[in-house]
Amino acid sequence: MLELVNVSKTFSGADGAVEAVKNVSLKIEKGDIFGIIGLSGAGKSTLVRCLNLLERPTGGKVLFKGVDLTTLSKKELLRTRRSISMIFQGFNLLEQRTALKNVCFPLEIAGVSKSKAKKRAAELLEIVGLSDRAGAYPSQLSGGQKQRVAIARALASDPEVLLCDEATSALDPNTTASILSLLAEINKTMGVTIVVITHEMKVVEQICNKVAVLDNGVVVETGEVREVFVSPKSETARNLILPGAKAAEFSSGGRVIRIVFDGHSSFEPVVSNLSLDCRTAVNILGADTKNIGGKAFGQMLLQLPNDSTASERVLRWLSDRGIPYDEEVKTDA
């Protein structure tokens, strides 16, 4: 559906060139809810703007349904953009237009007649649950309502892809959850492929099936959300999944391991059993449980005893029970 091939974007500024995106290749399939996660400054926003060429890549190809967008004429590009909608962190609604008129906007651009546009806009406001606010101006709407209008507006041109640039970052947790479930529903019922840019792991967990982890303009890890979550290979992914990992670096003493619970073991008292069976104490540095695709997944950072025989015993105990673990490499300062 949408594919980036070796895409790079370099900004030339006053103090030298900045490589915001470096040689990124990604494949987004039809029907995906694809998460692109990274810390601020990782190049996420630039990367997503390369997908609809709001930023023209300085290298590489952007393929939409097999067509390289960078080779299109201006006119063809404008037409193609109607199939790739976008919503934003700041909503970007026209402040002087009502909710209904905002949703009409992309239809006006596409040359749809006024009465047809109005009818379609009303239907879309219905879908996002805002029919009763059709005549309200953005200043009269809450953040969540504004984003719903923005979603309705983005859907007006019957897009095949919806790009969400930190669409929930300005919203409170409850509103975030409701916006995310609206997006998931749109993906399911309307078959719209969704690309979600975020710095929050919980956004990825809640709706994405695939994820790419972006660090410093480079994709350091990509795959199914479950895979990446259970065995994160990159430092960035580990930090995003369980931010407690940093604490491990500063703890003195024994080795630190990260254990991952799958759907079954998270309901067993693993640590208690471990302590009882191995007759040793472990220090819990951090823990978190998440619901991914309806299954509970837990992560825990454990500090093993200083005694090497005891710690070996713990590791053997975990292997015997098929509980995966990774040793956290301490970067000594």
Binding site: R81, R82, N92, E95, I109, S139
Partner: protein
Amino acid sequence: MLSSGMINELIKGIFETLYMTVTSTAIAYVFGIPMGIVLYITDKNGICRNRPVNMILGFIVNVLRSVPFLILLVAILPFTRLVVGTTIGSTAAIVPLVVAAAPFVARMVESSLKEVSGGLIEAAQSMGASPMQIIMKVLLPEARPSLLVGFAIAITTILGYSAMAGFVGGGGLGAIAINYGYYRYNNRVMLITVLLLVIIVQILQEVGMRVATRTDNRIKN
């Protein structure tokens, strides 16, 4: 207090002043809006970046704005004659007024457009809007309140200029103030004309600001 002839003079003056002001403002906007738009969109972060166009137009605007109005008035007399066939009277005054006001209006329009959030332009671009559609459907409507405030400032400024046009036979209240008040030491006439100008400025300014606020949908509650 005043002779009926004087009162008639003043009434005629008011109409001449309004005629000059309104007509010049309207024509200044006809030129100023496109100029302001071009200045904005060809700027280095604009939607149609074009450094040469931006620099040349910016230079012309700055030059015209830095020439004192009275000098401009006299300097372009041949041009005025070419356009309206005469250099005296209210209609003749409109030419230098437009030449002086259009660059001013262009800068006002440019600064109003700059207030429109870049995110809105980006959103429109992401929907496949052409530059023309962005100008007509995003920039101008979203900048409307600020454009109206600018309009109130522009029309009152042009009113002030129009009084100066009285010096070179431009007619209007300015001419009355100079001919009766200044040259004939008639302080009463001088005061009355000034007072009338103050009242007209107040009305224009107040109406402009009110319309701007009333029609701004960002402050509806």
